[in-house]
């Protein structure tokens, strides 16, 4: 009788669990299982396809894109966060920066792609300005619609994301540490190198990982910018899913998706571990 009673409250969360099962877990399982199937039976052909030169190239590009925008976005975002952290919580500048960062980090995607096309794409504002003033064509060989462009545009949402994710860590730096270091004889540089940076490092690296995962999994921006070709993994999935030429590409999409899950899961695992380490200190 007691055991039955302790199970009753569980009924309260059944709807939630059922929902997640349907719309999150089943699709994920479908992908994982589907990666190992071809024509309805078990097969490793799609996994092998992952080692094609095209797929390896896409993986490499995805990693380069994610890593570079994580580092650039991370450093610049940390700088911006450092600038507003000392402002009081109610200051207009601080709240405006945070609100703007929130919206830019979230809405990203298509709108951002078009923002940059309107700036430095064909007929873009900056393009025209530079054309008229310096007679230079900055659109060049269409670099905006390939890797270099992706890196530039991705930074547009990586920097705000870094501000949002890293600001709490900066906020957690207690003023007593700085004052204690000062009274113990530390110069500003010594405080930074011996106290602030070691304390912020786990949170900083964790944030970089988060940015990496974010860029790696991003789809909308690249889809809007790049109409032909599949330089990165997400676009390869698009090609595989929308391919009108080869019908059997569906399962290749599963395999690539599986690859993405693995990479992102590893990154997020490392992120969670770093977060736990630094949270022990910043109470």
């Amino acid at each position: 009788m007691r055991r039955a009673r302790s199970l009753v409250p569980l009924v309260g969360i059944l709807p939630f669990l059922a929902y997640l099962l349907l719309f999150l877990l089943i699709p994920t399982v479908v992908v994982i299982v589907g990666a190992f199937q071809e024509n309805g039976s078990f097969s490793l052909s799609n996994i092998h396809a992952l080692s094609n030169s095209a797929t390896i190239d896409a993986l490499r590009n995805s990693v380069v894109l994610s890593a570079s925008t994580a580092v650039i976005g991370g450093l610049l975002g940390a700088l911006l966060a450092a600038v507003i952290v000392s402002a009081p919580e109610r200051s207009v500048v601080r709240r405006a920066v945070l609100a703007l960062s929130g919206s830019l980090a979230q809405t990203g995607g298509v709108s951002l792609a078009f923002a940059w096309m309107a700036t430095i794409g064909l007929g873009g504002t900056l393009t025209t300005m530079v054309q008229n003033a310096l007679r230079l064509d900055i659109t060049g060989n269409g670099w905006l619609y390939a890797m270099p462009g992706l890196i530039l545009v991705y930074c547009y949402f990586q920097i705000p994301l870094m501000v949002i994710v890293f600001l709490p860590a900066l906020d957690g730096l207690r003023p007593q540490w700085r004052e204690a270091a000062e009274t113990l004889g530390a110069s500003r540089l010594q405080y930074l190198t011996q106290v602030a940076i070691p304390l912020l490092l786990p949170a900083f690296l964790g944030s970089l990982l988060l940015l990496f995962a974010n860029a790696f999994a991003a789809y909308a921006t690249a889809a809007a910018l790049v109409s032909q070709g599949s330089p990165i993994l997400p676009l390869m999935i698009r090609a595989a899913l929308t391919s009108e030429v080869v019908l059997g590409q569906q399962h290749l999409a599963y395999a690539i998706a599986l690859e993405m899950i693995v990479v992102v899961a590893l990154i997020m695992g490392a992120y969670a571990w770093l977060l736990r380490r630094s949270s022990r200190w910043m109470r």
Partner: protein, 254 residues
């Protein structure tokens, strides 16, 4: 940091972030003759495809927020009150969508959506089910921080000792005190839904971002106008949220 350096850095960032937005304004109002025209912006309210898409996206915002609240609020409150040991599990599940890329979910969701279409039809509104999943991590965090600030257990015990049933406790005691968290979760969800492209495009629904992308090939100015409107709308919402949230934080109960 020296004040002048601080303002300089803020200025550089302001240029980097507002520059493209201003360019969008410029681009969307240019005409080939070199003059200005509001045609692209007018199209936002006259062009049927665009208008439809805006309507669908806004409707999706509404349905997503409602379904998210209906699904998440009772569950979170229930866990806090009756199943506190499952908190970590629920947290993990809610943060899972951060680890499983939307793209991946879309790839595997076809089968499930075949059923959804069977029951609910083919209108873009069915995207609600997928969107709630995407919104989960952010909504969870917003609601969780609001719940944590409230001593739910004590409130519930007080209400129960006065004779309230569980439903009353949730609906009339806890929820009204979660205003800030609910608002926050709602606004973040709206921002996300307005920009969501992955699901909509790969499942072939015509929401605003999909149409923006579509028009990119035929009339880029309309795309840019719609995109700018999107960004401004979402930013305004979040700015409103931060100012409203800050004011209500001044009130603290006994």
């Amino acid at each position: 940091m020296k004040p002048w350096l601080r303002w300089l850095i803020l200025l550089v960032f302001a240029i980097y972030f507002f520059g493209p937005l201003l360019s969008m304004l410029d681009f969307s109002t240019k005409t080939t003759g070199g003059g200005r025209s509001g045609a692209a912006w007018k199209a936002l309210v006259t062009n049927h495809q665009v208008l439809d898409a805006i309507g669908q996206s806004l409707l999706l915002c509404l349905t997503t927020v409602i379904l998210m609240l209906v699904l998440l609020l009772p569950t979170m409150i229930w866990v806090r009150l009756r199943l506190p040991r499952l908190k970590r599990v629920i947290e993990f599940l809610c943060l899972l969508p951060l680890t499983i890329p939307a793209l991946v979910i879309v790839v595997g969701i076809n089968g499930v959506y075949a059923w959804v279409n069977y029951f609910f039809g083919y209108s873009p509104v069915v995207l609600t089910f997928a969107y709630v999943v995407l919104v989960l991590p952010y909504a969870y965090r917003a609601l969780d921080s609001s719940l944590s600030a409230l001593d739910v257990t004590t409130l519930a015990e007080a209400a129960r000792s006065l004779g309230a049933g569980w439903l009353t406790v949730i609906a009339r005691v806890v929820v009204p005190n979660l205003g800030a968290g609910i608002l926050s979760a709602a606004f973040i969800s709206v921002a996300l839904v307005l920009g969501e492209f992955t699901f909509a495009s790969l499942l072939n629904y015509q929401t605003l971002p999909v149409v923006i992308d579509l028009f990119g090939k035929s009339d880029a100015r309309v795309s840019v106008a719609a995109a700018l409107g999107s960004i401004v709308f979402a930013s305004a919402l979040l700015l409103l949220l931060s100012f409203a949230g800050a004011r209500s934080r001044g009130r603290k109960g006994a």
